[in-house]
Structure formats: structure tokens, C-alpha cells
């Protein structure tokens, strides 16, 4: 269907089902239980899962297919966010123009940076993109403060023009972003005994866009264009000798991937109308590289899994504090409890980076193909049929 072969179609179908029922998968523990700490089914985090999924899918089109490692992709995400917030300030609180402008701006930006950076390859390309991203960050942080809001970030205000919409709500507050009246932060809750499942408009909006992006990425992977990008990755010199100029292809891949980042940025601003400069900082660029490698470079589903894992750790592990640890191990004798808590403490709370680092090292050493390879290995252990592989891999993000 949709011009996909059977395997890809079933992958898309699985992702769609997972995304649609994520509020259930991500809230497996009843409210009030000790394990409720690990529930990830609240709107903000679910939105982040799919938005960073889009970001990583886009990054993978460049890195996974052409092998060009961009170390400045966060700049496009940031530019997209700023563009979207400006649309909210000037035009209206409808997310459609905001997202459209975010994608276009990021695309233009990527075209300029890509045109310069793609004259080099390998480490020089990485450093060039890193330099451009850091430059954008520095500009946004201080020099361009009137446009970007500087350190505080670009925010909505009551006196923004918003020419096609109300500048303020009836109660005198700043209106919230919506899709033709459907507010992004509206949620309904489904209660089964102690289980609470939250269905959020913004999440499903972002999820639908994510599915479309995922579909497009499959099409790109399977197209002749995708084939050409793979040829560039395997041996660019050979391609030159056959009389083909690879640069238009790499530039196209770079711009597409930049537009994906812009889309993610626009969506982020739509869910939460604020754009901060740190979004463009080099660590943010590094994060998307981590996501892609963690999930599996060059695989379709890998980057989405990687994005989910990193965002889960950032938001869930980092919120466990020593009091919570003590309550978990309260059943142990006093002395032993303290020892166990002391041992675990460096890995939780502010130490979540440490845990992430360890997970990353383990993945890179033992599963060079990322989580997807892990899924394949598990599938090989249990199943006889190879066709089941992606299915196993896709169950990972639900944790």
C-alpha cells in the first residue's frame, strides 16, 4: 500500500499502532504505586518522543544514507522554533502557518549552510556544520536578542499583534496554539480503576505528522534518489569517476534533513510556544547524533527508538531523587539500605548523563547496529522466521 512493499508497509503499520496506543503502553503502572515513577504517558513527554523522533528520522536521512555527519543539526531545529513563535506572535495561534514557515525557514537556512559546508567531507564537514551551529547559537543568545529574545528565549506577549486572531483571550490571557480551534494542550483522561491514561490533542497532532514523516523517509530510503545517496556513502570517488556530480544529491539530502529538523522545531514551538537559544547549542546537536547511533544508523525505525530512549532517560531517570530511592529500599535493613542507595545514587537524578553514557558505550561496543540490532538478535534467539525482526525491535520504546 502507498507504494510500499509488504515489509515496509507492515513496519509503518506497527509504528502507527504503537504511536496510536502509546498512552496505554507508556502508562503501564497504576497511579500511586511505587512504579508509577516510571510511567512516561504524560502529554509533554509523549510529544517529545514523537517530535524528537521526527528530528532523528530527518537526521538519519543525511547521516544514515550519505554518511555525512552533521554536528550542527540543532541549529535548524532552533531556527524552526523561532520562525514558528514569530508566526504565533504576528499572525495567529493556528499551528499550520507556524509549522509551514518553520519548515521553509529551516530549509533555506540549510541550503545556505549546506552549500558552504558540503564543499568538504568527513571531519571537515562535521566541524564546519558545528561552527555554523555554534555561530547561530551565539547570535541567538546575545547579538540578535531583539529577534530571538536572547537568553530568556522568544516568548509570546499580551501585546503581540496576531493580526488574524485574537491577541488575548476573553479572560485576558495569551491564547494557546491550536489547530483550527482544537487546542494543542487539551487532553482527556481515561480512568480504569487506578490506571489513568491521558489522550492529548497535541500529541496526536504531532504523532500524525510523525507518521507522515516516517512514511516519506521510507519512500526516500527506497527511491532511486536514496540509492544515489547510498552510493555516495559507499564510495564518493567511484561516483565521481562514473561522471556523476554527487554534490546536488548531498545538498538535497542536507536540505531535506534540515527541513525535518525545522518541522520538529516548529512542532516543539506549537506544543509549547517558547523558543530558547539552548535548543541550538552543540550539545543539542550531539544529542541527535546519539539518538541515531543508539537506535541504529541507516535503519528506518532506529532513530525513533533512540530518540525515545534518550528522552525517557532525560525526563524519568533525572527525576528520581534520593528520597524516592530510600522509599524503594525501605524494606532492607537500615545499614544495607544506605549502602544500596549510595551505590545507585550517582546514576539517577542529575547523574542520568552517566547512565546514558554507560548505555551508549554498551550499545556501541556490543550492538554496533544499535537497538535495532539488539532487537534482531533477540528475534534470532526466539523466532525462526526472520520476517518478525522489525516487530521485536519496535516494541522497545514502550519500555
Amino acid at each position: 500500500m502507498f507504494g510500499l512493499d509488504k515489509k515496509d508497509a507492515s513496519l509503518l503499520l506497527i509504528v502507527a499502532v504503537l504511536v496510536a496506543f502509546a498512552p496505554f503502553f507508556l502508562n503501564p503502572f497504576p497511579e500511586g504505586s511505587a512504579m508509577a515513577q516510571f510511567n512516561a504517558g504524560y502529554p509533554d513527554l509523549m510529544q517529545r518522543f514523537v517530535i524528537f523522533g521526527i528530528f532523528a528520522i530527518g537526521f538519519n536521512i543525511l547521516f544514515g544514507l550519505t554518511g555525512y555527519l552533521s554536528f550542527g543539526h540543532a541549529a535548524f531545529l532552533g531556527v524552526g522554533s523561532y520562525a514558528a513563535v514569530w508566526m504565533f506572535k504576528l499572525l495567529s495561534m493556528n499551528v499550520v502557518p507556524a509549522i509551514v514557515l518553520a519548515v521553509i525557514t529551516a530549509g533555506v537556512f540549510a541550503l545556505i549552510i549546506g552549500y558552504v559546508s558540503l564543499r568538504r567531507s568527513g571531519i571537515y564537514f562535521s566541524i564546519l556544520t558545528l561552527a555554523f551551529a555554534q555561530m547561530s547559537f551565539a547570535l541567538a543568545y546575545s547579538v540578535l536578542t531583539p529577534i530571538t529574545g536572547g537568553e530568556t528565549g522568544l516568548q509570546l506577549a499580551l501585546d503581540d499583534p496576531r493580526i488574524f486572531g485574537a491577541a488575548t483571550t476573553a479572560e485576558g490571557n495569551i491564547p494557546v496554539p491550536g489547530f483550527f480551534g482544537l487546542e494543542m494542550r487539551d487532553s482527556t483522561e481515561l480512568v480504569f480503576g487506578n490506571w489513568v491514561f491521558t489522550f492529548n490533542v497535541g500529541y496526536y497532532f504531532a504523532a500524525i505528522i510523525m507518521l507522515i514523516s516516517f512514511y516519506l523517509s521510507i519512500r526516500i530510503f527506497r527511491s532511486p534518489f536514496g540509492m544515489m545517496l547510498r552510493a555516495i556513502k559507499s564510495n564518493q570517488q567511484r561516483l565521481n569517476y562514473t561522471g556523476l556530480n554527487p554534490r546536488p544529491y548531498t545538498l538535497a539530502a542536507f536540505v531535506i534533513s534540515g527541513m525535518y529538523a525545522g518541522l520538529a522545531g516548529g512542532l516543539m514551538a506549537s506544543m509549547d510556544p517558547l523558543a530558547g537559544a539552548e535548543r541550538m547549542f552543540w550539545t543539542a546537536s550531539g544529542e541527535v547524533v546519539l539518538m541515531t547511533i543508539l537506535g541504529g544508523v541507516g535503519t528506518l525505525i532506529g532513530p525513533v527508538l533512540g530518540a525515545g530512549l534518550i528522552k525517557y532517560m532525560e525526563n524519568i531517570i533525572s527525576k528520581i531523587n534520593s528520597d524516592i530511592l530510600h522509599s524503594w529500599f525501605a524494606f532492607l535493613p537500615d545499614g544495607l539500605e544506605d549502602v544500596v542507595v549510595t551505590l545507585i545514587y550517582p546514576f539517577i537524578g542529575k547523574g542520568w548523563h552517566l547512565t546514558l553514557g554507560i548505555v551508549f558505550m554498551l550499545v556501541v561496543i556490543f550492538l554496533p547496529g544499535g537497538l535495532v540490532q539488539g532487537g534482531q538478535k533477540i528475534a534470532a534467539l526466539f523466532g525462526r522466521k526472520k520476517a518478525k525482526e522489525p516487530k521485536n525491535a519496535t516494541t522497545e520504546p514502550a519500555e
Binding site: 500500500m1 502507498f2 508497509a9 509503518l12 503499520l13 502507527a16 499502532v17 504511536v19 496510536a20 496506543f21 498512552p23 510511567n39 504524560y42 502529554p43 509533554d44 513527554l45 517529545r48 551565539a138 543568545y141 546575545s142 536578542t145 536572547g150 537568553e151 530568556t152 528565549g153 516568548q155 509570546l156 506577549a157 499580551l158 501585546d159 479572560e171 485576558g172 490571557n173 495569551i174 494557546v176 494542550r185 482527556t188 483522561e189 481515561l190 480512568v191 489513568v196 491521558t198 489522550f199 490533542v201 496526536y204 504523532a207 500524525i208 507518521l211 509549547d272 517558547l274 530558547g276 539552548e278 535548543r279 532525560e314 525526563n315 533525572s318 527525576k319 537524578g349 542529575k350 548523563h353
Partner: protein, 448 residues
């Protein structure tokens, strides 16, 4: 083809049908709607403490968290009660807030607006926090304040000194107890004039972000008002660690005062560089060269070591204050943790208590009721003398301390000495003062 349509429809179905049809009745009953976000239903109420646990302000964040834990103890009637005994409002009785036991969740702002908002959002959406407090940077405070306004919970700002927090970025659901750049300038200027004279030439080094800008503006306008001349202002990147290249031009100018609009590690490095370059031994225009640091904190003084001796600055509160409130707080903090609290700890502790008290007096956790109870609230016994929470901009007005690096510190905590307690009248400004212009409070938001 049809299969594909089904899945997409499936997505929509889950959102629309399951949501609207099935969940709405249960949703209404489950939240026990009292008409505001996260209305506490059980026997407990959850507060969200959102502080920097990593990044440049992690020290302040750790101290803030200690203060919050102490405040929760006192609110729940454990410990010695601290400032509850000296607080002028006696609504709180140590049985939690409105009889509900106080519980809390913590998060890491990383001193980044995005991370801080993500953390605050998870507190609101996942943990059901009815109030968010904390933060150690103005950028974060402004970002989280805007979020709380949208979500319909109360935000009690922690350490944030920029004018914007209660200036152009003020929000109806946000409150600040800490002082601001304008107050620093207004309090410092007379002391500087008395000590250094009124015909000085000042050179500013300013951290290149919002707080730096507002502080520079505040100090510049207050000192110029009493006759000083500003010969140069230079912006330095926030990530700068070596300020040598910025100090050299100061030597070449004819300035005789250097104002360092830096905070945290920035200030420690720039001050150390300035002293190493021998600025303080220079004589310019026949006058001794001086250095001024508008915003001081004990943690910074500790970092800069002997270099802070004799250098003027301003601070919100200092543990050596001798009023009853300060003594009670230092006492219970010291007993629990073994060292005196910082000004960040103080402002956070006070904010937690003020919120609890406002809820108690209002008889409701509803943000609009709390806003009403806090607006124009006058109180005493919290370490800063009589204090007013001004209704127009939700800023606290109280005395400001001008401090000086101590020449002969008696311990590692005894680094600053109080030079003057600037009375509140001298630092009060009109709500529409140019440095605070733009922006509007809006109306309070109860959320869902």
C-alpha cells in the same frame, strides 16, 4: 490502500471517540473538579521544586533544595518550626497546608529554559504539582513563569535578579521575593558615592545576556544620577573563563572604577583576573582604582577567595543578620545541615512559606485565590524587615543589603560584612518605571 486509511483513522479514533465518548464522564469525576489545575483531592498536596542540579548554578540549586526540604518539614510540623515562629502571619499551624500534608517532587532545570520547562511540565502533568518554585537564573525563571501562567499553577520564583522577571515578562501567576537589578543599583549608588566620591569614571564589563543588560542599565543610571561618568561598557560572552583580554583595555582607558556585571563563575573569574592585573593597586586620575560587583553571593565570595576583600556589592539577605527571623532560619538550617544558608536558600524557603500562608489565608489552592491573597500582602519576620508583595507587578519590596568583602574573615562562611541596610523607600520604584516598561501582568489563570 484501505488498510492504510484504517490505521490513520485508528489514530483519530483513539483521540476523538475514545476521548470524547468514553473518557469525558470519568475525566470529570476523576479530577474532582474544583475548577483549577491539579486540585489536590487526597490528604496530601504536591509542590514542585525545580532547581538547577547540574550546570553552572548547581551549588545554588543544591542549597535551594535544602531550604525547600526544610520548609516542607516546618510546614508539616516537624523540626523546630524555623521562621514560622517569627512570621507575622500566624495562619500556618504546622499541620501542612489546609490540613493536607505537604509532599514534593524535584526536577533539574540544568539552567536551560527548555529543560526547565520540560521538568516543570512533567511536574504539572505527571505529578500533579499545584505550585512550581525554584530556579537560579532569570532566563529560566521567566520561561517557567510563562509556562505556569499557561498551565494555571502558581510560580514562586527562586533566585532571579533581572528586572524582566517582574518587568516586561511579568505574569499574573508568578511572584518574586528576591530583589532585582534596579534595587541593586539604587542601593549601591549612595554607598559608592559616600566611599568613592561623586566624580568617578566607570567602566562596565557585562555578561552578554538579559540579566547582564538590566544590571548594567540599572547601575549605570543610578551612578550617573549622582555624577559618575560611564566611559565604556563591554559585553563579555557568558561562557568566557579568561577575562584578561577584557581587562587590558580597562588599563588603557582613563576609568577609575570597574563594574563587573557578572554572576557565579563569571564573576569569580573576572574578579580574579582584574586583581591579578593589579587593577586594585593602580592610581588613576589621582584616585585609588576600585572594583564593584553589583550582585554578590556568599558562594561567589567563596570562589573568589581573598580577591573579594573590600569590594562592594549588594545582596538580598545574609546569614549574619541579627533579626529574629534570620536567626531562627539560620538556627534550624545550621542544625540540619551544619552550615549557614545562602541567600538563594533564604529566598526559596521564604517563598515556600509565603505560598503556604497565602493558601491557608485564602482557604483554597486555586491560583486566583492565592494571587488575591498574595497581592498587596504585607508581612514581617522573614529576615528582611517589613515587606510588601506589590499587587501591580508581584515584586517584593524590602530593605536591600549593601555588603563588602570582609578583610579578616573568621571562617569560610564569614566572607561578607554588611555595610548598610538600604531602607525600602530608597529602592522602591513606580511600576511603570522605564527599566520595567512593556509587558503586562494579564489576569490570573486557574487552568483547567
Amino acid at each position: 490502500m484501505s488498510k492504510g486509511n484504517l490505521t490513520r483513522r485508528g489514530v483519530l479514533k483513539t483521540g476523538a471517540v475514545a476521548g470524547a465518548g468514553l473518557a469525558l464522564p470519568t475525566y470529570l469525576s476523576a479530577a474532582g473538579h474544583e475548577g483549577f489545575t491539579n486540585a489536590p483531592t487526597g490528604s496530601t498536596v504536591t509542590l514542585g521544586f525545580n532547581v538547577p542540579q547540574s550546570g553552572p548554578y548547581a551549588d545554588e540549586g543544591a542549597d535551594e533544595l535544602r531550604a525547600y526540604e526544610l520548609a516542607v518539614e516546618h510546614l508539616n510540623g516537624e523540626g523546630d518550626g524555623g521562621m514560622l515562629n517569627t512570621f507575622s502571619s500566624k495562619a500556618l499551624d504546622g499541620t501542612g497546608i489546609l490540613g493536607k500534608k505537604v509532599e514534593y517532587v524535584t526536577g533539574d532545570t540544568q539552567t536551560k529554559s527548555d529543560a526547565a520547562r520540560a521538568s516543570a511540565k512533567s511536574m504539572i502533568e505527571k505529578d500533579g504539582a499545584v505550585m512550581i518554585t525554584g530556579g537560579s537564573s532569570s532566563g529560566v525563571a521567566v520561561a517557567v513563569q510563562a509556562l505556569c501562567q499557561e498551565a494555571g499553577v502558581i510560580f514562586m520564583a527562586g533566585l532571579t535578579h533581572s528586572n524582566d522577571t517582574t518587568g516586561k515578562d511579568k505574569r499574573a501567576n508568578g511572584f518574586r521575593h528576591f530583589f532585582n537589578s534596579y534595587m541593586s543599583g539604587a542601593a549601591l549608588a549612595p554607598v559608592l558615592a559616600a566611599n568613592y566620591g561623586t566624580d568617578r569614571k566607570a567602566y562596565h564589563l557585562t555578561a552578554d545576556y538579559n540579566w547582564g543588560y538590566t544590571t548594567e542599565e540599572a547601575v549605570k543610571s543610578s551612578t550617573e544620577a549622582m555624577g559618575w561618568e560611564t566611559v565604556g561598557t563591554v559585553l563579555t560572552p557568558l561562557t568566557q573563563t579568561d577575562f584578561s583580554s577584557y581587562i587590558t583595555p580597562v588599563l588603557q582607558s582613563d576609568a577609575d572604577v570597574l563594574v563587573l556585571n557578572h554572576y557565579g563563575g563569571n564573576m569569580v573569574n573576572s574578579l580574579t583576573n582584574a586583581v591579578q592585573f593589579g587593577l586594585r593597586d593602580r592610581i588613576v586620575n589621582g584616585k585609588q582604582f576600585e572594583i564593584v560587583v553589583p550582585l554578590y553571593s556568599r558562594l561567589m565570595a567563596k570562589g573568589a577567595g581573598a580577591n573579594v576583600k573590600g569590594i562592594f556589592g549588594s545582596t538580598n539577605w545574609h546569614w549574619s543578620l541579627q533579626d529574629e527571623g534570620s536567626k531562627a532560619f539560620v538556627q534550624s538550617f545550621g542544625t540540619k545541615y551544619g552550615f549557614p544558608p545562602s541567600q538563594a536558600a533564604h529566598t526559596c524557603y521564604v517563598q515556600a512559606l509565603l505560598y503556604a500562608d497565602a493558601v491557608q489565608r485564602a482557604g483554597s489552592f486555586a491560583p486566583c485565590a492565592v494571587v488575591e491573597a498574595l497581592e498587596g500582602f504585607e508581612f514581617d519576620g522573614m529576615g528582611n524587615g517589613p515587606t510588601l508583595y506589590r499587587a501591580e507587578d508581584h515584586q517584593c519590596f524590602k530593605d536591600v543589603l549593601v555588603v563588602k568583602g570582609k578583610e579578616n574573615p573568621s571562617s569560610e562562611f564569614d566572607l561578607l560584612e554588611i555595610v548598610e541596610v538600604t531602607p525600602v523607600d530608597q529602592v522602591t520604584y513606580a511600576p511603570d518605571h522605564p527599566q520595567f516598561a512593556g509587558g503586562a501582568l494579564g489576569t490570573c489563570n486557574n487552568g483547567a
